[in-house]
Symmetry: C2
Subunit: 511 residues, 2 copies
C-alpha cells in the first residue's frame, strides 16, 4: 500500500529547525512503503501537511508499531492531540529544486523562481542539504544584481512585516567581524533622544564573542514579546532587544542556520539577509557600517565599494533609504571584548567618563550623526554636532536608562571573570597590528559570550608604544578549563604585532 495511517505520538526530542519523524522498524507502513532511514516523508492531518526526516526505531518504549512519533517542533505544527490518526507517504522533492538545479547548471533565475524557492524553504520542504545546495549554487558571484533583488524581495515576503506607521523608522547595521564594536548601544539612545524612531533588534553572538543582544543583557531584559517591544518603542522611541522571537524574513534564519556551520558566506547573500530583515522590521532608513581592515570581513577598499553598490542597488529598488559608511576595521573597537567588558565600555562613554574608550565614542558619534541627518529638519553636516551634544549633555545616558527601565533592568555589575591572565609584550616597540580574528577567538575560548564575564580587556591599541614586559591585554574567565584554553591560544599567537612607526598599519579609509 502506498498510503496508510498511523497514530500520532509526541516525542520529547528537540530537533530545532529540522522535523524528525520516528517509526518502528516492525511497523507495517514502514515495511510496505519501502521507506528508508533518513528519507523524507509527508505527514497529513486535516489538510495540514508537514515534511519530516524519518528515523527508524527499534525500541517500542519510544515509538510502537502503528504509531508515528514526531519531534517537538514537528508535533506542534499540527495543533492536535496525541493519538490523532495521520496519513504518511513519501514526500515529493520540492518543485523549486528544479530551479536550484538550473542555477547549478549556470542558468539565470527569474523572480518567480526565487519566489517558489523561498516558499518551499519557509514551508520546510527543503532539507538542510537542499538548502546547502541552494546556498552554494547562489554563492560568490553567481547571482547578478537583479537576481539578488529577486532573492531579497522573496525573503522579505516569506514572513511578517512590521508597520510602524511613521514616515521615518531608522536603523543601523554593521556587517560584523570587529570585536568590541558595540556602537548600537550608543547610537540607539542618541538617536532616540533626538526623537527619531529606532526600534533596534539585534542577534546574539553565533561566531563572535558577543552580540549586541548578549551585551545589552548585562543591563536589562532583551527577550521581549512583540507587544512589549511595540509599547517600549512607542514610548521611548527606541529599544535594544533580541530579534529572535518575531517571524521576520524567516527564510533568512533558515539560510543562516546552514550558512553558519558551513562557514560559507557571499556578499550577495549578506545583502539579501540584512535588507530583507530590516525591511521586514519596518525600517525606512538604514545606515550600513562596513569596516575595512586586513583582519576584517572586508579586506580591500575595492571590495567595500563593490559591496556598497550592491546594498545601494537593492535598497533603492525596495524603497529603503540606505546609506553606507565604510569604517576603520583595522583593530577591535573599544577596550573590552565579551558581554560584561563591552557593557562597561558602553556605559563609560554614555557617562562621559574620561576613561571611556575614545574610538568607540568617536565611531558611535559618527554613525549617530549620519542617522540624525536622515531627519529632513537637520542641515547636512550638522548630525555629528547634534549627536555629540546629546551625548555630552547626558541626554543619551538618560535615554539609555529609560530604555533599560522599560525593558526590565538588571543589577549592574560589570566585574570581569575572576580568573585573570595578563599577556605581556615580548619586546619593545609600538603596536602595529591587532588581529581581530585572533582576539575574538581568544575571547570565545575564555568563555564569551555564554560566560558573560569572560573575555579580553585590551590595554594597548594600534600606535601605542610599549616596553618589553608591559601588559598588552588581560584574559578573563570564569572556569579553569576555559581559562587554560584561552591562555594556550594566546601563547601560540597573542594577536599583537609590535614594530616601528613605519610599519604601523595605515587606515584603509579616512575616518
Amino acid at each position: 500500500m502506498s498510503i496508510d495511517t498511523l497514530q500520532l505520538r509526541r516525542i520529547a526530542i528537540d530537533t530545532y529547525h529540522e522535523n524528525v519523524a520516528y517509526m518502528h522498524r516492525e511497523c507495517g507502513v514502514y515495511r510496505a512503503e519501502g521507506f528508508q532511514a533518513l528519507s523524507k516523508i509527508q505527514i497529513s492531518l486535516n489538510g495540514i501537511k508537514i515534511l519530516a526526516v524519518l528515523n527508524v526505531v527499534d525500541d517500542a518504549s519510544i515509538v510502537q508499531s502503528g504509531e508515528l512519533g514526531l519531534s517537538e517542533q514537528a508535533f506542534q505544527q499540527f495543533n492536535c492531540v496525541e493519538g490523532s490518526m495521520v496519513t504518511v507517504n513519501h514526500a515529493e522533492p520540492p518543485k523549486s529544486m528544479d530551479a536550484v538545479r538550473r542555477k547549478i547548471n549556470g542558468e539565470r533565475l527569474d523572480r518567480a523562481d526565487f519566489d517558489s524557492i523561498t516558499d518551499d524553504i519557509v514551508e520546510s520542504r527543503y532539507s538542510k542539504m537542499e538548502i546547502a545546495a541552494f546556498l552554494v549554487a547562489t554563492g560568490q558571484n553567481s547571482l547578478d544584481r537583479d537576481e539578488l533583488l529577486y532573492l531579497t524581495r522573496a525573503m522579505l515576503q516569506s514572513g511578517d512585516r512590521i508597520h510602524w506607521d511613521e514616515p521615518l523608522v531608522a536603523d543601523k547595521h554593521c556587517i560584523g567581524g570587529i570585536p568590541g564594536n558595540r556602537t548600537s548601544m550608543l547610537v540607539v539612545p542618541i538617536v532616540a533622544a533626538h526623537g527619531m524612531l529606532i526600534p533596534k533588534t539585534s542577534s546574539r553572538a553565533i561566531t563572535s564573542p558577543a552580540g549586541t543582544a548578549d551585551t545589552m543583557e548585562m543591563l536589562c531584559e532583551v527577550n521581549l514579546s512583540p507587544t512589549q517591544l511595540h509599547d517600549i518603542v512607542r514610548r521611548e522611541r527606541g529599544c535594544l532587544a533580541w530579534g529572535g522571537t518575531a517571524r521576520l524574513a524567516p527564510v533568512d534564519d533558515m539560510l543562516i542556520a546552514v550558512e553558519r556551520p558551513l562557514g560559507i558566506d557571499s556578499q550577495g547573500q549578506m545583502v539579501a539577509s540584512i535588507l530583507s530583515k530590516k525591511l521586514a522590521a519596518g525600517s525606512t532608513h538604514l545606515l550600513v557600517d562596513i569596516p575595512v581592515g586586513p583582519s576584517a570581513k572586508v579586506r580591500q577598499m575595492r571590495q567595500a565599494l563593490a559591496l556598497r553598490k550592491l546594498f545601494e542597488f537593492v535598497g533603492d529598488r525596495l524603497n529603503l533609504h540606505l546609506e553606507v559608511m565604510i569604517t576603520d576595521g583595522r583593530q577591535p573597537i573599544g577596550r573590552g571584548i565579551g558581554p560584561a567588558l563591552e557593557a562597561r565600555d558602553v556605559m563609560l562613554v554614555l557617562q562621559n567618563d574620561p576613561e571611556a574608550p575614545a574610538d568607540l565614542r568617536q565611531k558611535a558619534l559618527q554613525l549617530a550623526g549620519r542617522i540624525i541627518e536622515f531627519d529632513p529638519d537637520v542641515r547636512g553636516g550638522q548630525g555629528y554636532a547634534i549627536a555629540r551634544d546629546i551625548l555630552e549633555s547626558g541626554r543619551a545616558c538618560a535615554k539609555m536608562n529609560e530604555i533599560i527601565q522599560a525593558q526590565g533592568p538588571k543589577p549592574v555589575d560589570f566585574s570581569p571573570g575572576s580568573l585573570c591572565h595578563e599577556v605581556a609584550a615580548k619586546s619593545d616597540g609600538i603596536v602595529t597590528e591587532i588581529d581581530n580574528l585572533q582576539m575574538a577567538k581568544i575571547a570565545r575560548m575564555a568563555g564569551a559570550p555564554m560566560m558573560k564575564r569572560a573575555g579580553v580587556d585590551l590595554l594597548k591599541k594600534l600606535g601605542s608604544p610599549v616596553k618589553k614586559g608591559e601588559i598588552l591585554y588581560r584574559i578573563h574567565a570564569e572556569f579553569p578549563a576555559d581559562f587554560n584554553f584561552a591562555q594556550n591560544l594566546a601563547m601560540q599567537n597573542d594577536g599583537y604585532t609590535l614594530g616601528s612607526n613605519a610599519e604601523l598599519l595605515k587606515p584603509l579609509i579616512t575616518f
Copy 2:
C-alpha cells in the same frame, strides 16, 4: 566548563549514515557548553572520536541528565558497553572544508585537497549539508580533468580494495537511465562461459524501477558475504551479486546518499563514482555503456563523446583498461520493466526462445563480444561471433544456472502482478517515441522495485505500426493503491507518441 563527561546510553533509533546524539535539556554539560540543537559535537572514549549531530531531549525516559544517548550506528562505532563514560565537546568543523570553500570561490584544488576531503568524509566528519556543499561546488564543469583524476583516486583510496590475483578481471557498467536494460544478466554468463573472470556486483534500484540486483533476486540470493562471493567467482568465473556489503570506495556511497535525494549529478562525479568503485572491486578491464537518446541520461552525441573522453582520461591514468560503447538509448530495452518482468526477458534470451526480445539479445551480444575481445587470444572483431556461439549453444544458459545454484536458487515464478491495466493506442500510427522517464515512472508507481511483480510490459516498440485501440503496454500491480496511482499517471501521459514513419526517432548512433 568546556569539556565534560557523560554516561553512554544506547538509543534504539536508526539514523542511517548520520550519527545522532541525544542529551537532556537539563544536563549540566548541555547548559555549560552552550551547545545548540543540531550542532555537531565530538564524543571521545579510549582514543576513539566520533562526531554526531545533537538532539535535545525533554523526556528522561529516553535520556537522562548526565547521560549521552547515541543512535544505533553511532553507538556501534565505540565497541563498548552502555554506561561507559565519554567525553563530549564541540566538534571542530572538518579542516578540509577550507578546500571546499576555496572551490566555491572558484579555485582549483590539488591532490592533497581531495585526499583530505575524502579522508574527512569517510571519517564522518562531514554533515549531509557539508557533503551537499562539496557536491555542488564540484558539480557540473567545475572540476577539470586532473581534479577529477585526483577525486577518483582519493575515493578509491578511501576504502578496501579487492585483489583477484588474475591478469584480467572484466566488468561492465551502464550509466543507467534506460528501463529494462538488464544486459549484465546476459553478459556475465556469456563472458564467464568464455572463461574470463567477471565478478559483477550491482546496486539495487534507487530511482529506477529495477536494478540488476533486484532482478537477479527473482532467481537466486544476491546478498552474499565477501567469502561467499569470492568462492563463487573462483569456481564459476562470474557472479551477479548485490554490491552493498563490501567497503569499496565508501566515500562514493556517502556522496550518492546526498546526490540522489538532491537530484543533482554531474558527469565528473559520475565518472569518479563508477571508476573508483570498479577499481576498488579489482577490475582490470571495464566496458562502459553510454546510452544516448532524447529521454536518456545523455541526450546528445557530443555529450556522450565528452563523457567518453573523461572516462578514458581517468581510466588510463589509473591503469584500468577501459572501453566505452555508445549505445541506442531511444527507448526501453526488452519488453518488461520491473524485476519479475525483466527476469522473464533475460531467461527467454538465455533459453534462445523465439519470443525473446531481440533488442535485449542483440545489445547483450554486442557488449559481451567487446568484453571477450579484452582476451588477448581473441582476434579483433571476433568477439561478437564468440558471444553468439556461447549463447546459441546453450552454454550461457548453463553457466547462468550454475551461478544461480551457487548463489542459492529461488523458486522460478515470473508471473506479473494480478492487477492488470491495458493501455491502448488512441489513434492509428506507428510508434515514433517512447519516453524512458515516463515508462520508468509508471513502473515505479505500480510498485516496482519493492513489489517485484509490479511493472510495465511493453507490447509495442519504436517503429511498430498500431491501430487505434490496440494495446501498447500492460501495467501490472499487486496492490490497489499502487495500481490506481500508475493508471492515473498513464492516463495523464502514456509515454508513447504515435505518428508517421517520417517522424520516427532516428537512432543517434549506428548500432
